[in-house]
Symmetry: C2
Subunit: 488 residues, 2 copies
C-alpha cells in the first residue's frame, strides 16, 4: 500500500492506495496499445477538445485538488493554486498545439525524372509511460506536462504516480479519466499505476514505446538502463539533477549587493529549495564583493525553512548538509530560520574558494535537493571559466552583470559562451528558478541535466519527444494520412 503523509506532522494523511498488481499493469499497458489507433484517429481537433475538457475539469475541481495536495506536500495553497493553474495552462497550450498541427512537421519532396517523390510527417510514437515528480504534484505529475504533451501528440499515457502524493494522484486521475471519457476519448487512452514495482513492470512492458521522467540522477539512470536493456529498447526522456551555477560579476556585485542577496536567498529557499532549478552554486568575486557576502549572509539568516515533501527527501537533505558541514574545505556562511515539524529543512549556505572548489569536483557540483547553497569566491573570471566548463550539464546557468559596465558585459559574454555549451538555459540578470511555458523555452541540457539533450520537458517543443517521422514514397493522395493528403 502507498501511504501519503502530512509533511507538517509526519503523520499519515488519507487512506493508503493499493499498489497496482502485475496483472493490472499488463491490462493497462495492453489497453493503452489498443487505444493507439483510435486516439490517433480522433485527430488533432478531437484530441484538442479532449485536452480542453481535462483542463476544464481540473479547473472546476481546483479547490479540492489544492486541499488534498497541501495535506500531502505542505507546499501551501498559494503555490499549489498557482501550480494547478499552470497544469491547466499546459493542457490548453498542448490542446492548441494539437489543433494547430504544426508538430506534424509535414514536408514534401516532389519526385520526377526517375527520382521518387516523398512526403514525410510526424506520427505518435505509441503508448508513453510517465514517471511523476515529487515536487510538482500537478505540473509534473498525473496531469502534468509530460501527460499533456504526449496526449496531444496522439499517444496514450500511463502515469506512474509518485509515492509522495498518492491521494492527489488518485483524485487527479479520476478527474482526467472522467473528462477524457466524457470527451469521447477511447478507453485505455489514460491510466495511472501505483508503486515502484508497477512502474518498473510498466517500463518493461512491450506495449510501452517511450518514457518520460522528472527526478533524481540515481532514479533516472536506473530507469534509463531498463529502457536501454529491454528486448526492444525505447527512448527515455529523463530530466535529472542540476545545480544551476550563478555567476555574479564584479560590477554587479558592487552595484546592487542588496538586490542580488535578496534574489539569491529567495531563489534558494523557494518551495523549501525543492526545485530542479535551485541555485546550488553561487560564484562571487573576491574584489567588488565586499558588501555582497555580508548581504547574502543577512538574507539567508532572515530566510525561513519549512517541511520537505517526504521523509526520504528530508533524510537525504539532512545527510548531505551534515556531510558538507564536516568538510574542512567548506565553511558555513549563514543559516536561516528552521521550519517547524519533523521533516523540516533549515536553509544553509556554505562558502569556499575557487581552488578548493575545483579540487572538490565533481563531488561539490552534485545536486543537494533542498535549500542548501555553496558560495564560491573567485579572484578572476579567467580563473573561473575553466572551472565552469568542468561542471556537469545543468538545466540553467545565470550570469549577473552591471549593464552599464563594459568590463562586466565583456565578462558576461565569456561566461555565457561557456554556459551555452554546458547548460540548457542561460539567464541574464535573473535567477534559475521559474521556468515559463513558452514556445522558445528549453528545459533540458547536457547530461545529467537531461538524458536526451536535444529535448525539452517544458514548453512547446516538449511534444517532439513523443513523435516519430514516417516517409511515404510515391504514394497516391488517396492513401496518405490526413496531415499529408490535404496538400503540402
Amino acid at each position: 500500500m502507498i501511504q501519503g503523509y502530512d509533511p507538517r506532522t509526519g503523520e499519515p494523511a488519507g487512506d493508503p492506495v493499493p499498489e497496482t498488481t502485475d496483472a493490472e499493469v499488463d491490462a493497462i499497458a495492453q489497453a493503452a496499445a489498443a487505444a493507439c489507433g483510435p486516439w490517433e484517429q480522433a485527430g488533432p481537433d478531437g484530441r484538442a477538445a479532449a485536452l480542453e475538457a481535462v483542463a476544464s475539469a481540473l479547473d472546476g475541481a481546483a479547490a479540492e485538488l489544492v486541499a488534498v495536495a497541501d495535506t500531502e506536500t505542505a507546499l501551501g495553497t498559494a503555490r499549489l493554486t498557482g501550480e494547478v493553474a499552470r497544469a491547466i495552462g499546459q493542457l490548453r497550450h498542448f490542446a492548441g498545439a494539437a489543433a494547430d498541427g504544426g508538430y506534424a512537421d509535414a514536408v514534401a519532396s516532389p519526385g520526377g525524372d526517375g527520382v521518387p517523390g516523398l512526403r514525410r510527417v510526424n506520427r505518435p510514437i505509441g503508448p508513453v509511460a510517465v514517471f511523476a515528480a515529487s515536487n510538482f504534484p500537478f505540473a509534473f505529475s498525473v496531469a502534468g506536462n509530460d501527460t499533456a504533451s504526449a496526449l496531444a501528440a496522439g499517444c496514450p499515457v500511463v502515469v506512474k504516480a509518485h509515492e509522495g502524493h498518492p491521494q492527489t494522484s488518485v483524485l487527479t486521475a479520476r478527474i482526467v479519466t472522467e473528462a477524457l471519457a466524457g470527451a469521447g476519448a477511447p478507453a485505455g487512452t489514460f491510466a495511472v499505476v501505483f508503486g515502484v514495482e508497477a512502474g518498473v513492470r510498466l517500463l518493461k512492458h512491450p506495449a510501452i514505446a517511450a518514457a518520460g521522467f522528472t527526478g533524481s540522477v540515481r532514479g533516472g539512470m536506473a530507469l534509463a538502463a531498463i529502457c536501454a536493456q529491454r528486448p526492444v529498447p525505447i527512448p527515455f526522456f529523463g530530466e535529472l539533477g542540476s545545480v544551476n551555477p550563478v555567476v555574479i560579476l564584479p560590477g554587479a556585485a558592487a552595484a546592487r549587493p542588496g538586490d542580488i542577496a535578496a534574489g539569491y536567498a529567495g531563489s534558494l529557499t523557494l518551495g523549501v529549495g525543492q526545485f530542479c532549478t535551485n541555485p546550488g552554486l553561487l560564484f562571487v568575486p573576491a574584489s567588488g564583493g565586499e558588501r555582497l557576502l555580508p548581504a547574502i549572509a543577512a538574507a539567508v539568516e532572515a530566510s525561513a525553512g519549512g517541511p520537505m515533501l517526504t521523509a526520504r527527501i528530508h533524510d537525504s537533505f539532512s545527510a548531505s548538509v551534515a556531510e558538507l558541514g564536516a568538510r574542512p574545505d567548506l565553511a558555513e556562511l549563514a543559516e536561516g530560520q528552521p521550519g517547524r515539524g519533523p521533516w523540516s529543512a533549515t536553509p544553509v549556505v556554505f562558502r569556499t574558494g575557487l581552488a578548493e572548489f575545483a579540487a572538490g569536483l565533481p563531488g561539490l557540483a552534485q545536486e543537494q535537493f533542498g535549500p542548501a547553497g555553496l558560495v564560491i569566491i573567485y579572484s578572476s573570471v579567467s580563473d573561473l571559466l575553466p572551472v565552469l566548463a568542468r561542471l556537469g550539464g545543468n538545466l540553467a546557468g545565470v550570469v549577473q552583470a552591471d549593464e552599464t559596465s563594459a568590463a562586466d558585459m565583456e565578462l558576461a559574454r565569456q561566461v555565457a559562451d561557456v554556459f551555452a555549451r554546458t547548460v540548457g538555459r542561460v539567464v541574464f540578470n535573473g535567477w534559475p528558478t521559474g521556468v515559463v511555458v513558452t514556445e522558445a523555452q528549453h528545459h533540458g541540457g547536457p547530461w545529467p541535466a537531461s538524458t536526451a539533450p536535444a529535448y525539452t520537458s517544458v514548453g512547446a517543443a516538449a511534444i517532439r519527444r513523443w513523435l516519430v517521422p514516417v516517409a511515404y514514397q510515391d504514394f497516391p493522395d488517396q492513401l496518405l494520412p490526413a496531415a499529408l493528403s490535404a496538400g503540402n
Copy 2:
C-alpha cells in the same frame, strides 16, 4: 595492422594500415574538442565553403577513389562512380543547409508583464564519432552522410574507418583533411582512426559528445551500450538491421507478375544484396499469385551472384543460408547463378506459408545480409496484417497494388496503416532499395531499424542528430549569438 583484401580473389590488396594507438586516439579526440569553438565560430558560411572545398576535392580525385575502392570492395566502377557522386552531392547538400541556417531553428518568445523573454537556437553538440559502414565506402564512410551532416552542424568529426576498405579510407581522409585545411578549417576538425579497439576508445573518450553508426544489430547494440554506460552518457544514432517487408496484393500479382518478379530479383541482388534496404521478406497472395511465383523463380534463377565485401560477411551469409536451407518449415523456391571467387554469394530465395512464417518469428524476420530472400504465401490480407504488425521495426516497407482495383487500394490502405507504425519509409509500387537524398527523406524507423526512431541518417533532417538547443533568457542583444541577435 588493418589489411584490405580484393574480394574477387581473397588476396591482400594494398599496404596494411596501422591501427591507431591509444595515445593517438586521445590526441585526436582532444584536438577535436579544441576545434569545437573555432569550427563553430567559422560560421555557417565558413563551414559551407569548407564542405564545398571537400566536395570539389573528392570530385577531382573521383577516378582514383573509385579504382582503390573497387579493388577493396568489388562493387564495380559504375556503382562506385555513382556513389562518389552521391557523397559529393551530400556534402554540397549540407553545405547548402549550413549556409541556409534553418537548422538553427531560432525562435523567440517575447517577455513582458513579469514574464521573462526567451530566445532559443540550436548549437552543435560537440565532437562526433562516426562509425563507417562496410557497404558504402563513400556515401556512409569517411566522407559520408554522417560526416557531412555533423561538419555542417558545426561539430568536429572523428571517423572510425571500416576494416573492409582501409586504403579507400586513407585516401579519402587525406583528401578531406587537405581540403578542410585549405579552406581554413581549424586543426582537429576532422580525423580518422583505424581499428576496433581505437573505435571503442574513441567512443569512450570524454571529448566525444555523440556518435553515428551504420551497420549490424549486434555491432550497433554493443556500441549503444558503451555510450549508455559512459560516466557521461552520450546520444548514439545507430542505423541497424532491416528486412524491409514487401507486400504484393492480389490485384498487382495478377496484373503484372513479370514486372514484379523482375523488380524483386533486381532489388534483392543489387550490390550482391548488401543493402540495409534489401527486400528480405516478400508476401505473395495464394490467390492471384499463380503466375507470380513461377515468374519470381525464373527471375531469381536468371540473376547472378558476386563477391561479397569481406570474408566475414561472406561466411556469415553462407552460414545463414545453410541454416535456412536446413529448416523443415522452408523450401527453396529458386537459386541464381553463382558469382566467381572465394567470397562469392549465390542469390537464393526460400518459400513458406504465412502460418509457418508466423510460427518462426522472430527468427525468420532477422536480417540476412546478402542476396537471400524469403517468399511468404498468404491467403488473405486480414490474416497477414497481424503478422506484419509482429515484425520488428524496419527501414522500409513496400505495398504493391493495382491502382485500378478498388479492392487492392483498400487493402493497400490497411497494409500502409500497419507499416506507418512499424517502418520508417512506406513505398507504394516500388522497391525498398534506393534511398534518395531529399528534404522529406526518412531513413530510420523503430528499433532495430534505428536506435533513435525520431532521427534519419539520410536526407536534410540528418543534421538534427548533431544539434542541441540552448535558450537565452532576458539576454541583451549584444550578448546573443549571431543566429539570434540579427532579429528573429
